[in-house]
């Protein structure tokens, strides 16, 4: 009875801290744009809830010892030579084990949601990475391509390949590499996945918030790795359908290269 109440109290306070205190801060991390975001944020909050108090306790212990037990002139005594204390040692073995188990539980749940692959996505796009650029291929064969050759300089977002996606729908990306390992990384989606030659990774996104997001290759892939960037244009469904209808089957749009008429 008492134990149950104690657990409820713990859960309640964790949730309270989560909503009122931590819900307001991201420490610079972007996010809030996909449906997966909720799970990532929850894990961050769980981590803070455990890591901050433990960190403060340990840090406090260290600083306390440095200040309080400093040798002072005239007080050069030999301190009490205690060597062990089984109850304390047992406590700080078992409590962290319990905490780790709790964190793992939340993590396992989150991972199942984030990694899930839908059977019937709204759109399936092939994302192809190569040295040094991206090619996004749509179901009707239309390609959006961009290479570093056409990029102006690192400060410009012109001439980057654009991945068009509908908002609010499940978009499935098939990740393919032509040569070496690249990584598809969109910081605002709080997600990345490797493009490994020979392995076809599949990931699902459901981006709630329309907008233009910046993406980057996130695995060293050669000399121009830093320039292997792309943009993700997430549009409301109607707008996306309108755009898609305008792309002829099998056509290729190369960023930075004017279309041949």
């Amino acid at each position: 009875m008492v134990r149950l109440r104690w657990q409820c109290l713990l859960c309640g306070s964790v949730r309270a801290v989560e909503t009122h205190l931590l819900g307001k801060t991201n420490f610079g991390s972007p996010g809030g744009v996909t449906t997966q975001d909720h799970y990532v944020r929850q894990l961050w909050h769980i981590t803070y809830v455990f890591a901050v108090p433990i960190g403060l306790i340990v840090l406090g212990g260290i600083v306390w010892c440095m200040i309080r037990y400093r040798v002072r002139p005239g007080h050069d005594r030999t301190p009490s030579q205690f060597q062990y204390h089984i109850p304390i040692e047992a406590t700080y073995t078992i409590v962290p084990l319990v905490i780790v188990a709790i964190v793992f539980g939340y993590m396992y749940n989150a991972e199942n949601h984030v990694d899930a692959i839908a059977k019937n996505p709204a759109v399936a796009i092939t994302v192809e990475g190569f040295q040094w650029g991206w090619r996004f291929t749509y179901p009707n064969g239309h390609e959006e391509v961009g290479t570093v050759a056409n990029e102006l300089d690192i400060n410009s977002n012109d001439n980057l390949p654009v991945l068009f996606m509908p908002a609010g729908e499940t978009v499935q990306l098939h990740l393919v590499s032509d040569d070496v390992i690249h990584t598809f990384y969109v910081p605002e989606f709080l997600f990345q996945r490797d493009l490994i030659p020979g392995i076809n990774n599949v990931v699902d996104f459901n981006v709630i918030k329309p907008g233009l997001y910046s993406g980057q290759c996130n695995n060293i892939c050669g000399v121009y790795h830093a320039y292997m960037r792309f943009l993700v244009q997430v549009m409301p469904v109607a707008e996306y359908n309108a755009w898609y209808a305008q792309q002829p089957a099998g056509s290729i749009t190369t960023a930075g290269v004017p279309a041949q008429s």
Binding site: S29, P79, Y92, Q192, N218
Partner: protein
């Protein structure tokens, strides 16, 4: 030659006579550095060489930070930048952090701490040093080649490392250089394990060895398992590059992910190899400077064994984003490692608790270790969770995490070890004011450099990029980080100056300037050939403390 004061004469028994089989005078001068098989000389060779590696790789790091101080910078070209970070990582890990701890301090101190006259295989020890030096030189000579040194990151993922994508001898010299240091490490591991198992002094049972020696033992076990796997991975890579193999080549049925599995099976124990000996240093320094025994000695050893064991099963947490690993298994084991590490932290606090603490440079560096490794460990817990790793992998958050544990953690502890054992090795104390200044500058510089990188990673800045878009919101943090790097460089320089200054001008140290507790403080500074004229009785894990403080004997039998 070396007596411990106030010890009754009847406890003095002379060491058994060591038979000198090789005739002729002891080596002098330059020849001494080449041919000596004395573990102390070889240890010093390693310490000096690894520290030079530290300085060299540090210069490469300053180059990296200079390139990143403003967006769209042109301090170095893309190709050179890739070489800078690759060789910075490779040299820091394979030439500095590892060998400094297990080959430098390990070789020097392990025989002293267990009461042995030398290592079990002295000539083999010498060979290990030459292979190590050769490896360092070969990998660094990559810079002198036309295509430059290796430029694919210190973990060299295939297929980027295949001949078609990384032509030129720089990559081959990297492979051979790292393989040579690997063999050196394996030979040292054989030597150290044999020494610990067979050459302990009478009464020095395994559970009376200093925690430093236990940590080295576990490190050597990890090394024995990990480096052969790396060598195998390199062998397959060599066959791919030069003998028309296709192990990692997907166009002919090979598997790039095989390289990652092999490399990280080595790579994760490797980072624990780079951490565990430094835990040992911290334990020794904290205990001595607090004038207390190690708190929870058996718990410490158990925790070290657990960390060592678990580290062999978590390699794929470096591969979460490949989509090809069993996430729950590795997440569970990675989170579990936090538990024994936490035990060690609480035991360190317990060691300091209610002690009489001398806040000298060695102690300050070890406290710096405690604080910064704590932080690095917590960010490690964050990264152990796959879903959070999907956000943060290969960003500056990871860079911040591993620099907190490797630099703020291990390197700080290593510097603490230098300040602690320099008197034993040279007979002179290091200058305390210069040391404390070095600590302060290094602390400020390090944190200024790497703390902002957590936020850079949260904001999505990838690692290993030679420059970045000015509109991403990363400019200010990068600038602070680079300024911090320069300050940290000054901090290191102050210790280097201290090392040279104290060699000639340092106060004479004597046998036991710190009232040290373990056997290395029972002989002269520096110790004579074959270490011990006579040994104090070994009745606990603190034989020298017991001999010097007979009213405060260490309790045994618990």
């Amino acid at each position: 030659m070396t007596l411990i004061q106030d010890r009754p004469e009847e406890h003095l028994v002379h060491e058994p006579v060591l038979m000198e089989i090789v005739p002729g005078p002891r080596p002098r001068g330059l020849v001494k550095y080449i041919t000596s098989t004395d573990h102390k000389q070889i240890g010093l060779n390693y310490l000096v060489t690894s520290f030079i590696g530290f300085l060299f790789a540090g210069l490469l790091a300053e180059g990296i930070r200079t390139q990143l101080i403003v967006p769209n910078n042109h301090f170095v070209t893309e190709s050179v930048y890739n070489q800078l970070f690759t060789m910075h990582g490779t040299i820091m890990l394979f030439v500095f952090l590892g060998p400094f701890a297990f080959a430098g301090l390990g070789n020097y101190l392990i025989p002293l701490m267990i009461g042995a006259p030398d290592m079990a295989f002295p000539r083999f020890n010498n060979l290990s040093y030459w292979l190590y030096l050769g490896g360092f030189l070969v990998m660094s000579c990559g810079f002198l080649t036309n295509n430059g040194a290796a430029n694919f990151g210190w973990f060299g993922y295939a297929p980027l490392t295949e001949a078609i994508h990384s032509p030129g001898p720089g990559a081959d010299m990297w492979i051979i250089g790292v393989a040579l240091t690997g063999f050196s490490g394996i030979f040292t591991a054989v030597n150290i394990i044999t020494t610990i198992f067979t050459l302990r002094a009478p009464g020095m049972v395994m559970f009376r060895m200093p925690v430093f020696v236990w940590n080295q033992l576990v490190t050597m076990f990890l090394l024995l398992l990990a480096f052969p796997v790396l060598t195998a991975a390199f062998a397959l890579l060599w066959i791919d590059r030069h003998l028309d193999g296709h192990f990692y080549d997907p166009t002919h049925g090979g598997q790039p992910i095989l390289w990652q599995n092999l490399f990280w099976f080595f790579g994760h124990p490797e980072v624990y190899i780079l951490a565990l000996p430094y835990f040992g240093i911290v334990t020794e320094v904290l205990a001595t400077m607090s004038k207390k025994p190690v708190f929870g000695y058996k718990g410490m050893i158990g925790a070290t064994l657990s960390i060592g064991a678990l580290s062999m099963g978590v390699w794929a947490h470096h591969m979460y984003t490949t989509g090809a690993v069993l996430l729950p298994f590795f997440a569970a084991l990675s989170l579990l490692i936090a538990v024994p590490t936490g035990i060690k932290f609480f035991n360190w606090i317990g060691t300091m608790w209610r002690g009489t603490i001398t806040l000298n440079t060695a102690f300050l560096f070890c406290c710096g270790f405690l604080v910064m490794f704590l932080f690095g460990g917590i960010t490690g817990i964050i990264l152990a969770q796959p879903v959070l790793d999907f956000q943060l992998h290969n960003t500056y958050f990871i860079v911040a995490h591993f620099h907190y544990v490797m630099f703020g953690g291990s390197a700080f502890a290593g510097l603490g070890g230098i300040y602690y054992w320099y008197p034993k090795m040279t007979g002179r104390m290091m200058d305390e004011r210069l040391g404390k200044l070095s600590f302060l500058v290094l602390l400020i510089g390090f944190n200024l450099c790497f703390f902002p990188q957590h936020d850079l990673g949260l904001r999505g800045m990838p690692r290993r990029i030679e420059t970045y878009n000015a509109g991403m919101g990363w400019n200010f943090l990068n600038m602070i980080s680079s300024i911090g790097a320069y300050i940290a460089g000054i901090g290191v320089l102050l210790t280097v100056i201290n090392l040279f200054y104290s060699y000639r001008r340092g106060q004479i140290a004597g046998d036991n300037p710190w009232d040290g507790q373990t056997l290395e403080w029972a002989c002269s500074s520096p110790p004579p050939d074959h270490n011990f004229e006579a040994l104090p009785p070994i009745r606990s894990e603190r034989p020298v403390w017991d001999a010097n403080h007979p009213d405060q004997l260490t309790k045994v039998g618990h």
